[in-house]
Symmetry: C2
Subunit: 230 residues, 2 copies
DNA sequence: ATATTATTTTAGCTTTATCTAAATAATATT
DNA sequence: AATATTATTTAGATAAAGCTAAAATAATAT
């Protein structure tokens, strides 16, 4: 006889529902307590009418709390579900980069498809195969199978002072264009950097990368690079 | 300037359409020239009415020839498309068994989902990563990117004579139950076998496996094991 | 306090993939 | 050859996920 100390939640979402839940979860992580229909609409690139429809469904399946006209909150169950999708997405990203030699700016779309494959054992084995990675190629933390995330304290590069140093651990903007730019200048995840100078006038910075190369970047670029300070 | 010597066929099927095309292709490989609606219906576990509907769509996209009430044939384009789905399915099966330590009877359902991921580069890289395998874990050949398959001449085990030997290269019935049975008795893909005796009465066989173990099997089981004769 | 604007929802339509029930074509039987 | 049976298709319905247009509600501006 085997008594389990937790209750297995049996929620089954379609791929479309999973994508909306993920969007709501991500938006809810960006500060605001409740997420609006329009926010979700522009995130998902669908019309607000479609969002309203979907919110009704997600509320029925109890992954969000939904008060008409007032916006939504993710429930505890919703959070757990969203974190499992994010876990799958990021594990596949690690696989694509480390095993299949994808560049870090090529992985998002494919991972977006792979994350919806329904097989708990597949993800468990993939995780094991990859050596239980804690961070994805963009430096974002990978939730464990219980939804726990190991967050690293990190700072936008533009907030470092002259002579401060650290390691690039993530990027805020992970658009392909931005990632390609970083690749080009050699500012990859894991690179050791040091701020050599900051220009008062426009906030641009002079950076030393891996004790070898110096490069200049605008404040806007630096604001999108997250650093683990040393 | 670059002139290509072939025309890229731009057909786009939904996952459901891909599954039907695959079923039609597989059935058409089993001898008969044209495939009937009922055959597809029982293969797909959907109603004949749904099949008729789908055949109309597949004919519109020119992957099958369809004459009402007479059944269907796969077109050249259809064949190419079907072989690419099969290629993806089998490459994923190799990945699951060789890299993620799945048993060969656990891979089918997951591969069934993975085969629909739309990314040519993903499959190219996966193939490379796996070392361009030519056969899947059940011994079935993996078509190359042009749809060419390296078939191995093979014989059902029950058709071997006493003292004939060979190597198990594939199974006809790849149901989980059958594969588990084979695993249990140690008759895996690649095993070297020799027919020690055949019982006239019921056609059952006594087999030597890997020069070590002998086992008895019914004619029905033997008929589902394909052997590369030596 | 009311009018205007912005946001959100509802109602009704479309497409895809399924179904059931009814109609039609092909085949088999007497 | 006429009829019965089986196979296949058509017609009409449903559920999911989107859309547009219109209505309802909330927020804001006068």
């Amino acid at each position: 006889m085997c008594f389990q100390s937790y209750i297995v939640i049996m929620i089954r979402l379609t791929s479309a529902e999973e994508n909306y839940l993920k969007a709501v979860y991500h938006l809810s992580q960006e500060g605001k307590t409740t997420v609006s229909t329009n926010d979700i609409s522009s995130e998902m690139k669908t019309k607000p009418a479609s969002v309203s429809d979907m919110l009704r469904k997600l509320a029925e399946k109890e992954v969000i709390d939904y008060r008409k006209y007032y916006g939504v909150n993710v429930t505890e169950n919703g959070k757990k579900y969203a974190l499992q999708i994010i876990r799958k997405h990021r594990l596949w990203e690690v696989f694509l980069v480390e095993k299949l030699r994808f560049a870090w700016d090529e992985v998002h779309e494919v991972a977006e498809e792979l994350e919806h494959i329904k097989s708990p054992i597949l993800i468990q084995r993939l995780d094991e195969y990859l050596g239980h990675p804690k961070f994805d190629p963009h430096g974002d933390p990978i939730p464990d199978e219980y939804g726990d995330v190991k967050a690293r304290p990190r700072l936008p590069l533009n907030e470092l002072a002259i002579n401060d140093g650290g390691q690039i651990v993530a990027v805020k903007d992970s658009s392909a264009a931005f990632l390609r730019y970083l690749d080009k200048v050699g500012a990859y995840i894991g690179a050791r950097i040091k701020v050599l100078d900051k220009v008062e006038f426009d906030g641009s910075l002079e950076i030393l990368v891996d004790n070898k190369k110096t490069l200049f970047m605008s404040k806007d670029v630096a604001a999108n690079i997250l650093v683990l300070q040393q």
